[in-house]
């Protein structure tokens, strides 16, 4: 609980240029760790994981001229906290035509926090098919895991307090602005 005297602060932790560099680096890391992204499918988790997945695929194409299939995986129907909130609208699930059976799936999301979204995503994947392996790439890891889950590719580790929140804006989903901000918490 923030003290009533605490001012709401917002500081930028990643600028547009930072995000671009981070995505470039993650694309390189994916190429490195997957021996050239062979047999790999990128699945973005709506909302912001989807444009991130497309950006990563775009960079991988630019660096090595490899086309990695990109899709989206909505996890709303697999959440464990549905009963705690008003009904949520569903996002899009689009599995690439090649499917995910026997492939390496890389899940992509903007922020890794409790790990519950990723748990739900693993359940969702299980119903779609049987990948040979599943990896996780996130733009920001803010800590405070509630489940034994870790990311394989991390854009930036941002130590946070529980009462702070990480706001990711992407040009595709948030009025053309690329930015990661940290808000709230004590001054």
């Amino acid at each position: 609980m923030a003290s009533p005297h605490a001012q709401k602060t917002a500081r930028t932790v990643l600028s547009a240029a930072d995000i671009q560099r981070v995505v470039d680096r993650m694309a390189h890391q994916i190429l490195e760790k997957t021996s050239g992204a062979t047999g790999t499918v990128l699945l973005g988790i709506p909302t912001r994981g989807v444009p991130l997945a497309h950006r990563l695929a775009g960079r991988i194409h630019a660096f090595e001229d490899i086309d990695v299939p990109v899709g989206s995986l909505d996890i709303t129907l697999y959440r464990d906290d549905l009963r705690l909130h008003a009904t949520r609208a569903l996002g899009k699930t689009e599995i690439p035509g090649s499917g995910i059976d026997g492939r390496r799936v890389i899940l992509i999301d903007d922020v890794l926090f409790s790990g519950r979204t990723v748990r739900a995503a693993l359940d969702a994947i299980n119903d779609v098919g049987r990948p040979s392996s599943v990896q996780l790439a996130v733009l920001v890891d803010r800590g405070h895991r509630q489940l034994p889950i870790r990311a394989d590719y991390v854009g930036k580790n941002i130590p946070t307090a529980l009462d702070e929140s990480v706001r990711v804006s992407l040009a595709e989903t948030d009025d053309g602005v690329d930015e990661v901000k940290l808000t709230g918490g004590p001054r």
Binding site: L77, Y78, A86, A89, L90, N126
Partner: protein, 301 residues
């Protein structure tokens, strides 16, 4: 989100569109190998059917099971209802069993509305008397949208016994909300006094401008009630046969809520043609009902 689905009039354009979009996501699921979602695990859905029904009951049952809800089927036959138990006492029994949703079909118009004042869970109208059948309208709208790409501005002809049809009433309400233009077609004796839509008594003149023709079932009990001179005359004037189907524009579709009387309101070659969406409607029914169950029960009660 609304708590009950009693009438298509309860749905504004945004809510109706949300249900159709959600149904689209649910439909994608039907193509997967594992057609089950954990979403409504631990929730109980009661199918309370006071009238015979196969497709609606099975459709709701499939929808609830695909979302992992527990389903209890209750039909009036062979239950305490045949011993004279009132709707209210049945409702209190369901309440005590902890039903999170009650799907009700009842011969009396307004029964779902009464039920909603007696139970804590959500009530979904699966057809009440000659009043409404909102999930049928949702699956019909979904079918039109997926076949024709849009609803706004579509010309929809609803043909047959509009007066006694809950399907027609719910469709008029929902389609009008979503921007379609509905024309009701049938003999004057079977068109209600205040239809809420355009009316024509001449099917042949309506067909060339129609994007969708929805044929309603002629209920056999009406044939005895002299709403029209004979089944044969009805079929000649308001039945959709192959010759009439050729008057439709190239893209137009033919719908029927089922069960159909082949050779009466719809000819077999029409029912089995490429324009016919009758089988699709059944599949879409499950997706539309999954969407309704998710949106009514998925969140915080």
């Amino acid at each position: 989100m609304i708590k009950h689905l009693l009438s298509a009039a309860d749905l504004d354009a945004d809510t109706a569109t949300l249900i159709l979009d959600t149904a689209g996501e649910m439909a994608a699921l039907a193509e997967r190998e594992v057609k089950k979602l954990p979403t409504l695990r631990g929730r109980t859905v009661v199918n309370l059917f006071y009238e015979d029904s196969t497709r609606t009951r099975i459709s709701f049952e499939a929808a609830a099971k695909r979302l992992s809800a527990d389903v209890i089927n209750f039909s009036a036959k062979g239950s305490s209802v045949s011993k004279g138990e009132s709707l209210k006492d049945t409702a209190l029994t369901l309440q005590a069993m902890g039903a999170d949703a009650v799907v009700i079909r009842h011969p009396a118009s307004g029964a779902p509305d009464r039920l909603s004042s007696w139970v804590d869970g959500s009530v979904i109208n699966a057809g009440d008397g000659t009043h409404e059948h909102p999930t049928q309208a949702l699956l019909d709208a979904y079918t039109m949208r997926s076949r024709l790409g849009k609803l706004d501005g579509l010309n929809v002809a609803i043909v047959g016994d509009v007066l006694h049809s809950r399907v027609a009433r719910s469709n008029v309400l929902l389609l009008t909300t979503l921007g379609a233009k509905v024309t009701l077609v049938g003999p004057p004796t079977l068109i209600p006094l205040s239809p809420g839509a355009a009316v024509s008594y001449d099917l042949d003149s309506v067909l060339p401008g129609a994007d969708v023709v929805m044929m309603l079932r002629v209920q056999t009990e009406r044939m005895q009630d002299s709403y029209f001179p004979s089944a044969r005359e009805y079929s000649r004037r308001y039945g959709l046969d192959a010759a009439r189907m050729r008057r439709l524009p190239e893209h137009a579709i033919v719908m029927h809520p089922g069960p159909m009387n082949r050779g009466m309101e719809i000819a077999p070659e029409v029912a089995d043609s490429k324009r016919s969406t009758i089988v699709e409607q059944v599949a879409n029914g499950v997706s539309a009902r999954m969407a309704v169950l998710y949106l009514l029960l998925g969140g915080k009660a």
